[in-house]
């Protein structure tokens, strides 16, 4: 039994890679080849689909828009979650447990419930179709998540660290910046990773809150699929490119993922 143990993860990874391979395969084919023949690899290898995406502003702006609001959201979520998570992990205050659960309930709200009211709210305050609107809307589920993860990491740091620093004459903010933040750097990395991930993959709210100027790449793809006929090759190339930022981010945090899941109670 022991010698065949590698078989299970290998088969599982093969299963995970098959649809991704097929997407790659399609992205290098011409539309004629996709519709006309069936082959396991591109017979008439072409980069036209990618060329179209990198030269057409409606396509590449979609990527830039997505990255813009995802980065904004990650920065906002992590920076406001830091002091809050510190408060939850170090102090007891009026209504703290209820507040914590209330924050978590927002992670549980189906986005479909909020789509229409969100549209009306952000139209009313004049932020409709801006990057910041999507970034703020994604705070609804990313801030609770960031607080939850950071609180887990901070609670693992003994309180004696804070007390020693105060005895050494550190002021609170100096301690927080110079000692505490470096200590939980891994936690901040994990929190940022999850904020990035959930903001990057979410589409319903991002699509509802934008029309032209801040349209995310995922919405551009949906439009192509429905209006411009069924350009499978182009769609596949665009889909392949959406994998790149994710793969990049995972590679950098690979050692923290498992740890973050365990400590951060994600």
């Amino acid at each position: 039994m022991k010698t065949h143990k590698w078989l299970v993860p290998t088969l599982y990874i093969v299963f995970l890679m098959l649809p991704i391979y097929w997407l790659l395969n399609m992205s290098f084919k011409t539309t004629n080849e996709i519709l006309g023949t069936f082959s396991l690899w591109p017979l008439d290898f072409t980069l036209d689909n990618y060329r179209k995406i990198f030269t057409d502003p409606t396509w590449y702006n979609g990527y830039l828009n997505s990255i813009a609001y995802v980065v904004m959201n990650t920065v906002i979520s992590v920076s406001v979650a830091l002091p809050a998570a510190y408060a939850f992990s170090r102090y007891r205050f009026l209504g703290d447990k209820h507040l914590f659960f209330w924050l978590l309930t927002n992670r549980m709200a189906p986005p479909a419930v909020f789509a229409l009211p969100f549209f009306q709210l952000y139209s009313a305050i004049g932020l409709f179709d801006t990057h910041i609107a999507v970034a703020l809307a994604h705070c609804l589920f990313n801030i609770p998540l960031a607080v939850w993860i950071l609180e887990g990491f901070m609670s693992a740091v003994p309180k004696e660290l804070d007390e020693t620093a105060y005895l050494d004459g550190y002021s609170f903010w100096r301690f927080f910046r110079k000692i505490f933040i470096p200590t939980i750097a891994a936690g901040i990395g994990v929190a940022a990773f999850f904020c990035f991930m959930y903001s990057w993959v979410e589409l319903l709210l991002a699509k509802t809150l934008t029309s032209v100027a801040a349209k995310p790449i995922a919405a551009t793809m949906t439009r192509t699929a429905s209006t411009a006929g069924y350009e499978l090759g182009l769609l596949a190339a665009a889909g392949t490119l959406t994998l790149v930022p994710g793969a990049f981010v995972i590679y950098f945090v690979r050692n923290y993922i498992a740890k973050g899941f365990a400590l951060g109670r994600v």
């Binding site: 396991l40 609670s155 319903l204």
Partner: protein
């Protein structure tokens, strides 16, 4: 950890409360507002009381999509949790392959949800997709755009593909936190692989598995984008889950009253289940 009581800690939490409240309370109140009123356009509203709630709770359409949702969530939990544990158990604990496994397995989690739908659409199409072509080549008639059973199978398989890795990562993190001493003790006692699993590994993974089940329950109960892109809720209404139905009513037919009432019922169900889970989890943690 023993915490000190300090009411000033509210200032630390204040920005979070403001941002989340802005995003949560205002839209939630809008939904509550719609759920008790009737409108014929032009922003003129009439008080309707609980009429919409009664209508939704008694409608066959809501019952049907609720049952479909329960069946879907039940199915993916039954498949993903044991599969995830199995993969995590057989993964290497040390060495260069750990990183390779983690990176490759985490990849599906970072794909935008509509791309997941589009990718599975391309993968499963009966004439051009590898999966569709493969199944048909085996002599089984398969076409997920027309047959309800195929559509269900494809949707479930897609979710297993998309989210099992989350269970794997969590279970793996739980396994890694078990000290070697436990295994050595088990070896001395002559315990077999099966009893090591039941007596040591499973109890140690209990907490992370609770989180995994909770997350999978929440997210699969809210699933919208992937099946919407893959099947569009069809054929017919066979894969119309709660969120898809809700968006159809709210944005498709613009029936704001019933949609709002349905939203609230929907949200309350998710909240109730999560509250029970959360309480159980916290009670377990205090022990």
């Amino acid at each position: 950890m023993n915490k000190t009581t300090n009411q000033k800690a509210w200032w630390f939490v204040f920005p979070v409360v403001v941002l989340v409240a802005f995003n949560a309370l205002i839209p939630l109140m809008t939904v509550v507002n719609y759920s008790v009123q009737e409108t014929f356009g032009d922003n003129v509203f009439f008080w309707e009381g609980v009429k919409w709630f009664e209508q939704v709770l008694n409608s066959d359409r809501f019952h049907a999509s609720f049952l479909r949702q329960l069946a879907f969530t039940g199915m993916i939990l039954v498949i993903e949790v044991p599969l995830g544990i199995g993969v995590a158990l057989s993964m290497p604990r040390k060495g260069p392959w750990v990183s390779v496994c983690l990176v490759l397995m985490a990849l599906p989690l970072l794909i935008p949800w509509n791309v997941v739908g589009a990718m599975w659409n391309i993968f499963a199409l009966p004439d051009t997709g590898l999966l569709g072509r493969g199944i048909n080549a085996l002599g089984i008639d398969y076409n997920f755009t027309q047959q309800p059973v195929s559509a269900w199978l494809t949707t479930v398989l897609m979710d297993v593909w998309h989210w099992t890795s989350l269970v794997v990562l969590l279970a793996y993190a739980g396994l890694c936190s078990i000290p070697d001493a436990y295994y050595q003790a088990a070896k001395i006692d002559g315990a077999g692989a099966w009893s090591v699993f039941w007596r040591i590994q499973l109890p140690k993974m209990k907490r992370v598995l609770t989180i995994a089940i909770l997350l999978r329950f929440m997210d699969s109960f809210m699933i919208y984008t992937e099946p919407f892109v893959l099947t569009g809720g069809g054929p017919g209404n066979t894969t119309t889950f709660l969120s898809i139905d809700l968006v159809k009513i709210a944005l498709g037919q613009f029936d704001l009253g019933p949609a709002a009432a349905m939203s609230l019922i929907y949200f309350l169900v998710v909240l109730l289940v999560c509250w029970v889970f959360y309480t159980l989890m916290m009670r377990h943690e205090e022990k």
